[in-house]
Amino acid sequence: MTPVAAKMKRGDSTDGGAASALGSRLSRIDGPAKIKGQARYGLEHHPANMAYAVIVQSTIPSGHIRAIDSKPAEAAPGVLLVITPDNVMPLKPITTWTGAPSSDKPYLALTREINFTGQHVAAVIAETFEQASEAAGLLRIDYEEKESIPSYDDPKSGAGNPLDAMAVAWGDAGRAFAEAPVRIEQTYRTPREYNVPIEPHGLVAEWQGDMLTVWEPSQWVNFMIHNYAEWYGLPDEKVRLISPYVGGGFGSKAFALGHGAIATMAAKMLNRPVKLAVTRPQTFTAFGGRPATRQTLSLGATKEGNLLSIVQKGANETSVDGVWVEPLASVTALMYATPNLSARQNIVPVNTVTPCALRAPGENPSAWGIECAIDELSYEVGIDPVAIRLLNYAEEDPHAKKPWSTRRLREAYEEGAKAFGWAKRNPKPRSMRDGHHLIGWGVAAGTYPVRRTAGEALVRIFADGRAEVASSGIDMGQGTYTILAQTAAEAIGMPVEQIEVKLGDSALPGAPVAGGSQLANLMTGAVHKAATAARDELIGLAINDPKSPFRELQANTLSIADGVISPPRGGESMSIAELLRRLGRDKIEVQRDTLPENANSAADKLATYNTITRMRSPTDGDYSLHAWCVHFIEVRVDEDFGTVRVSRVVSALDSGRLYNPKLAESQWKGGIIMGIGQALLEEGLVDPRQGRVINNNLGDYLIATNADIPDIEVISVGVPDFHASALGGKAVGELGIVGVAPAIANAVYHATGKRIRELPITLEKLLGD
């Protein structure tokens, strides 16, 4: 790693520079619309003559439907249509997000075979929502129930299926562990967790002839229209998806789901626009969240605390009819230098909806295991939890055996510890008290890979002096609107207020998924390229066009700043608007993509925007690319009642260059509070008989409230990393949550002397022994 010069440029506002330039703390440009209540979300689009669909879900976990009597529902006032497995429209199979065909059989959004409680079994469409809901209650469904496996804690589930492709190994980990002087072996568990964006899922679908328009919150517009198009055997151009605002997704809004199939087919069958809002309880089974995970970690070490071996045996739940892998080794095999490692993972099918991505899938539970285990080791060998992490610091990627592009994790430990006051920590558990409360200080690290996919952007400069940036990429709160405006403003040389950004519409140039924390990097890259090309075209015109006043200067370049074009050595300058008017041009329009030059055909673009097959792995190339973080956390525990409150968080994070520190900090903090909720509150409770999610509402599935959140200080320790992305950024959105839960568990141990190895850390786990 190159030593950091004292005055290293961070590429953000700490370097100084214009208040709106890339790297500045410009306030979110979509803020006012949201705060005025004027931002229109998917379900708020109400075309004329719209009908309402309500979904009915199964009440058994496994079995089949003998019969559905829909007559009473059909006869109810206002009812237009009842869709059941008997009359569901078969849709064509699709190409999945991995590029593989889903199946060779038609897709049936409703089937008689039941695989989990809460599976969609019917839909009622009526003139009003109330009528549809009332009629939905009239459906008589005769089930034949089969034995089911509600969770992987049920002995019937067995050990599951090994995923050989996920196995990682180097050295002889088993033997090294057996021979190690110090050994730790423990099992760490996480429960089912749910995305719960505050905007529930749903859509409004409308057909005009064979053209389908869908208003639906989406993290991945291109994949979703392709999915809808394939279902109905249409070219992608025949489907338009509009999603300018997304009320949170956290991984759950990237795919067209069963309810999307139902709403679009209902709209087709009725030839009317249909709105389908998934109710909050239904969101718990209409798509999956993070699966329950368990992992047994065996750490072998020297008496001095040097790791000799890591053995991991992990498992996650999946559904009986789908596969979801939560990669449990992703941090285990990356964070520490160990001469021997072996990691294996099984998936265990149970009667649940197929799990899916929830903020930092893989990294999150993976860090939970290893960051708790290394902490246990630190007490075992009697060294400081930060010191043991530095002792085993990985100087290169221990798995890929490649150098890190940047890894400012040492700096993160250093700056975080300093800001937190870690040096004052009494290492002994139960040694710190404040009145009735036990105080604990814990630490844990986290990481998230840099994922890279190409993108595309359209930039227009208009004769009135405004410019426009357009992409189908989306903004669900991360700040895409703002940073793309900043990027274009800087590249062209225009005031940021003059730039309008259009997003989340499949009619605009394509973009890959807003997931894997990649969108900001890839879209700033594409916009920068397109905007720079637009600027070059503008300058070219100014120099060469006979109508241009700059022509006689015979300059070989001009500069543009603040929307004004100036000759290099003084002289008359002129606004962009004025120049375009003089040239008689109404606009300059440039579209650019960042696909490789030898692979940018239409088919390549489809593969890039509609699948993840063109997403480059973090170790593709000469370097291993990752973002890093460390969390220092203080907890207060009331032992009489087992209550834990997080009272202080200091996190130091390396996300490379921050395009807008205000937005990035907000993302990090959002991740950290989700981590606090994960550590202390969040848990999908599954009824052991019916496999039902008992707490399927926001009153019982507890996410952190304001009162649960302490002061959070975030410190950026990153520097621009141009191996990672065109403009130097690394991952932001999913980084913050990784490592928070283990830091809290480690703090709880320090406070109480009790190791809680199963999330969440609830009242009763701390009472009793």
């Binding site: 009332e134 505050i198 909050r280 669900m476 926001l698 009153g699 507890l702 009162a707």
Partner: protein, 492 residues
């Protein structure tokens, strides 16, 4: 006397009068579907997330007061006589409202879906003229969930905007608004619909008596923080509603030297000062019920009437020795509140009978009270266990004890055996306390559920009793409370 057959409320400076109102129409549906005002969001439809928060202006003792409410579970008929303010109204002629501007400046919004709700939770705080401090803001926002921002930017925005000097269209029009609202208060009974399907909001005792006699099957409605969920979640086909919120006799608070009588239709928010006058723990308990939104409409009467084993006020009221007043037609009767709760889902109340009020004796010299609510999440969470204790103390000994728990049995329940054991305990001799606490096992056999296990409940109940005794043991701890940063303080 003829009843009024329309509801009236103030909206954007205009009086809205509606004659055709389905009894179960919610304010949220009215806004989004009828008015087309879609700034107000729906995130859960059960009062949990606050995305649907709107503000209601009303006159309280002649003063114009704004309160946040959950539009998703509030029935349209309940806003009769009030002013309805939504996020769509706040920026006047393109200029952001000071709260909105502060939220923009402090980056209080990410995905933006929760944002209108936060704006409208802060609007009443802004109008109140209070100089906001952190504690007030945290309390104000307890009912709003945000999955994105981490809350702090919103708190900072609130502190920046609520500086004690409201200066907006509402503060300018205060007098006018107050006059309009005063004009709404015509004292008539309200009845919309027919005998089969109606929303009735009587103002007078005779009208209520007539209605309950004629329609014993009607749903009695107070704040709708329970009933609203029957409508939006359980989809119960409710056709007849008798709303008590306009009943003058049920909206009174009468404080005397030795007791406080709280009318059944008094909201939590309105009862707060009187509860505080009885004991600070009672006020703190109230503050931890639901959220500002829930407390703005929810009532103590409803909390008692619904008979829930995990309702928060009943155990406290039982420990305090409160008396309940019930009214059927023109008849009233009184009973000790613990006798009201017969079994799970069963109360001593006949169809058409209403809870009229609760009388709470003031603490006497030598009496002390403690009440603790234990939850997983600090705010907006249902109690795992709630313990309430009233002790009479003389010469370092407990002479009288009333102890009640919530979450320990199928109803809120007194711990009679434990009370006997606690009486005569010496506060100077903690060694004796454990034996008394053992008796809890005879009083309660709690069950496991998703909020807590039976073992946890039993152990916590014990620890709460010991905690109460410990706090009573010294003169100083008996009469003081540690408040501090409430995010960190817990269970008192």
């Amino acid at each position: 006397m003829t009843a009024r057959n329309s509801i009236r409320f103030l909206r954007r400076g205009e009086v809205v009068e509606l004659t055709a109102v389905a009894p179960i129409r919610t304010v949220l549906d009215y806004l989004r579907l009828e008015e087309g005002a879609r700034g107000t969001k729906e995130g859960c439809c059960e009062g949990d997330c606050g995305a649907c928060t709107v503000a209601l202006g009303s006159l309280k003792d002649g003063r114009l007061v704004y309160e946040p409410v959950n539009a998703c579970i509030l029935l349209l008929g309940q806003i009769d006589g009030k002013e309805l303010v939504t996020v769509d109204d706040l920026s006047v002629s393109g200029k952001l409202h000071p709260i909105q501007q502060a939220l923009v400046d402090h980056h209080g919004s990410q995905c933006g879906f929760c944002t209108p709700g936060f704006v409208m939770s802060l609007f009443p705080l802004y109008q109140s003229g209070a100089v906001a401090n952190r504690k007030m803001v945290v309390d104000q926002l307890a009912g709003n969930l945000c999955r994105c921002t981490g809350y702090r930017p919103i708190v900072e925005a609130a502190l920046a905007a609520c500086t004690g000097k409201p200066d907006d269209a509402w503060s300018e029009a205060r007098l006018e608004i107050a006059q309009t609202l005063a004009g709404f208060d015509d004292g008539t009974d309200l009845f919309i619909g027919d005998d089969e399907e109606f929303f009735a909001a009587p103002a007078f005792d005779e009208a209520l008596a007539r209605l309950t006699e004629k329609h014993p099957d009607a749903v009695i409605l107070s704040g709708a923080t329970d009933v609203g969920l029957w409508i939006t979640k359980q989809l119960r086909p409710i056709r007849k509603i008798i709303f008590l919120g306009r009943m003058r006799s049920l909206r009174e608070i009468v404080e005397t030297i030795d007791s406080v009588r709280i009318g059944a239709a008094v909201t939590y928010a309105e009862a707060e000062p009187s509860f505080a006058a009885i004991d600070p723990d009672l006020a703190e308990l109230l503050r931890r019920i639901g959220s500002k939104q829930v407390r703005a409409t929810g009532t103590v009467g409803g909390n008692i009437a619904n008979g829930s084993p995990i309702g928060d006020t009943p155990p406290a009221l039982i420990a305090l020795g409160a008396g309940l007043e019930l009214r059927k037609g023109r008849q009233t009767r009184a009973l000790p509140i613990e006798d009201f709760f017969i079994a799970y889902g069963k109360q001593d109340r006949s169809p058409g009978e209403v809870v009229a009020g609760v009388s709470i004796p003031m603490l006497k010299r030598g009496e002390a009270f403690r009440c603790y609510k234990i939850t997983k999440r600090f705010d907006q969470d249902i109690s795992s266990v709630l313990g309430a204790f009233k002790f009479g103390i003389a010469q370092g000994r407990i002479t009288e004890a009333r102890i009640a728990y919530g979450g320990m049995a199928a109803t809120p329940k007194r711990a009679l055996k434990t009370e006997t054991a606690v009486k005569s305990l010496s506060l100077d001799d903690p060694a004796g306390w454990a034996a008394a606490a053992d008796r809890l096992a005879e009083d309660f056999q709690p069950i496991d559920d998703h909020r807590a296990s039976a073992a946890y409940r039993s152990e916590t109940a014990r620890n709460l009793l010991i905690k109460a005794l410990t706090e009573m043991a010294g003169e100083a701890t008996r009469n003081t409370r540690i408040t501090g940063m409430r995010e960190f303080a817990h269970a008192g």
